[in-house]
């Protein structure tokens, strides 16, 4: 067990301690590679395979606050990606725009435990 503990300590000391996982509202000021978790808001524009990439905005999940971060993304569009979905994306904040790593966008699996929405009664 001591050997296992030693391997663990050495690994965590040498290999660093993970990637910062931020909300759009806490992204400002972080220059390096980070992971952002947020909800897609507004209109999705552009082309994920085009030169300018696909553009959308992220807001804190479950928040109606004003903090939004523009995202530019290139690469494969994940399942169920659309406005309103919660997503996870890796990248770097550059001049106020979050430049995502190609292929890093993941749509969070719409949960079986998520709050249900029913159509209104007639």
């Amino acid at each position: 067990m001591a050997a296992a503990l030693a391997v663990f300590v050495v690994y965590t000391a040498l290999a660093g301690n993970g990637v910062a996982q931020l909300k759009p509202s806490t992204l400002a000021g972080h220059g390096g590679d980070v992971t952002v978790v947020g909800a897609v808001v507004g209109k999705v524009t552009g082309d994920a395979y085009g030169r300018s990439g696909m553009r959308f905005q992220l807001r804190d999940i479950g928040s109606a606050g004003a903090a939004r971060v523009p995202v530019v993304y290139r690469g494969s569009v994940p399942d169920l990606f659309k406005t309103g979905r919660d997503v996870v994306v890796e990248g770097t904040l550059r001049n106020g725009v979050f430049v995502a790593k190609p292929g890093s966008l993941i749509t969070k699996c719409p949960s079986k435990y998520g709050p249900g929405k029913t159509t209104s009664s007639t």
């Binding site: 290999a15 395979y49 994940p78 399942d79 169920l80 996870v88 949960s111 079986k112 998520g114 029913t118």
Partner: protein, 651 residues
Amino acid sequence: MAALGRAALLLAFGLIAYALIAGSYAAWKRRRRLALSAQNALIAAFPATLVAAAVLFVALGRRDLTFAYVAQHTSHKLPLGYALSAFWGGQEGSLLLWLLILSGYAGLAVWLNRRSRDLVAWTVPVFALVASFFAFMLCFVSSPFNVAPAPADGAGMVPSLQNPYMLAHPPMLYLGYVGLTVPFAFAMGALLSGRTDERWIVATRRWTLAAWTFLGVGQLIGSHWAYVEIGWGGYYAWDPVENAALMPWLAATAFLHSVMIQEKRGMLKVWNMVLVALAFNLSLFGTFLTRSGVIDSIHSFSQSPIGGWFLGFLVLMVVLSVALIYWRLPLLRTKTRLESLVSREATFLYNNLLLVALCLTILWGVLYPVLSDAVRGETRSVSKPYYDFFLHTFGLPLLLLMGIGPLVAWRRASLRSLGKTFLIPFGFAVITGVVLLALGFGSSWPGLLTYTFSAFVVASIALEFVRGRAATGSVVRLIGRNRRRYGGYIVHAAVVLLAIGIAGSSAYQTVREQHLRPGQSIEAAGYTLTYRGSTDVRGANYTGFRALLSASGHGEHFNLDPGMNDYAIEGPSNEASIYHDPRSLGDVFTKAQLVKGNVIDLQVLVKPLVNLIWAAGFVFVLGALIAMWPDAVEQRRLAARYAAGAVPAGL
């Protein structure tokens, strides 16, 4: 009808509360008749819960949208099978499934072991304590029987969950999670009663095996669903919710091995108690994780108020487990010592330490965002490289130990006998490794080591079967005479298949991505895929396209049609197209998205040996069933050991 469901749940809660209070008092004061009454109340809680479950099933089947739960998780157009699967598709239904399985397990386990009065007297209140939490939640916090004016239609179900795998994956996991309560309840019952001999282990061995099997199969089904349905080309993402099922499975695996040492040599009593408590509490932790929303996951579980309740209950159970083990330490200490570091017992111990180390490093990875937030004020997370490192560091020696353990003698093994025993497996592994190295498999050292160690384990298992067959005359008779041992070897063979499948499909996979116009081709690992053009598709609630591909390679010719469906409500969904190559036992996995006009972006993943992972599931179940199968010889042996009519009965 909702009133009937609520009444049945209240009755179940009353019976369970009685079993808890009266059972505790009876066990403390040694009141036999009262203990029997508490036992009967616990058994009676199952039919009461079954009535509540039947009410919910009927409501789901009839799409009775006056039930808020039914309206939130089904719709009129949802096929009946999926409507019924909504039972475990939502929070309240999942809690009811927990209680249904738990009350069923508890009633049966207590009834089967009713003659072990001392042990069962304290086991009943432990079962009742766990069940009372779930019954309380269902009656007073999160009821599936809330009613509201019926909407025009229900919310339906996410398309990716409308998959046959989803009919089996969650119930399997629940059967596993909840099943771990049985060894836990008996272990705590043993501590409370002071009967800390091997009876509780014998009484629960098959229950633990069954829970462990369900948990393993449930994870494999979930992985296969992710592989074929989600369309990202993988089957395990080290996501916290996935890890939540893996951790108790690892702890239970360690427990299943270490109990053999206690049975054979009377050692590791404290360790076994710790493992069974760890496995149970990790299963609670998994449930807490999926409902609290405290840890970010690609599974978008909503933040729910019941997370706090689960945390409170989890803390209570951890404190209770630790306190009981600490209190009974004098009874758990054994005089038997490990005689040699080169013995069967020692290899089991190394196996246990590695399994627990792997389990705890995964737990650390899962909790890291919460801990880093608490300590540094910034949420940080660890990802695949972290988990892969520890999988290699602890998993590869574990694989090797699977081959070493069965060949080492109990108590003490001499170097000379070891040399003779290991000669064939060692030689086979070395030859395999050298050949693979010459064939270019050195591009991935973890992959090469996995294959080499697997060869060692296969040779060691084969050697055991050959020797056993020589002694008994036939393999069937050999297995029949020692089901537990040879069932275990078959499970080891399944783990080898799993390891080879994972190594092949991850360490040696080929990934290619390219934009293609009609007529253009892409090459990947000896396969050539030519894009012929695209075609539109239309379903009841989606439109989409399919890229038509002709492919050839390794003597095979086949067609693939990956594409996308755009669901009106839910959004776009990748539709992967997979070819299972019977020669390589691998897959050609394709995914396509339209770029512009007829131009597609095509991803091709060639995953060698990936189908061994799914084949491992069948071998795993076969081995587990053999190990679980009742054994008359073993029963007679146990009857002799625990005389005076107190033979604990397994499942």
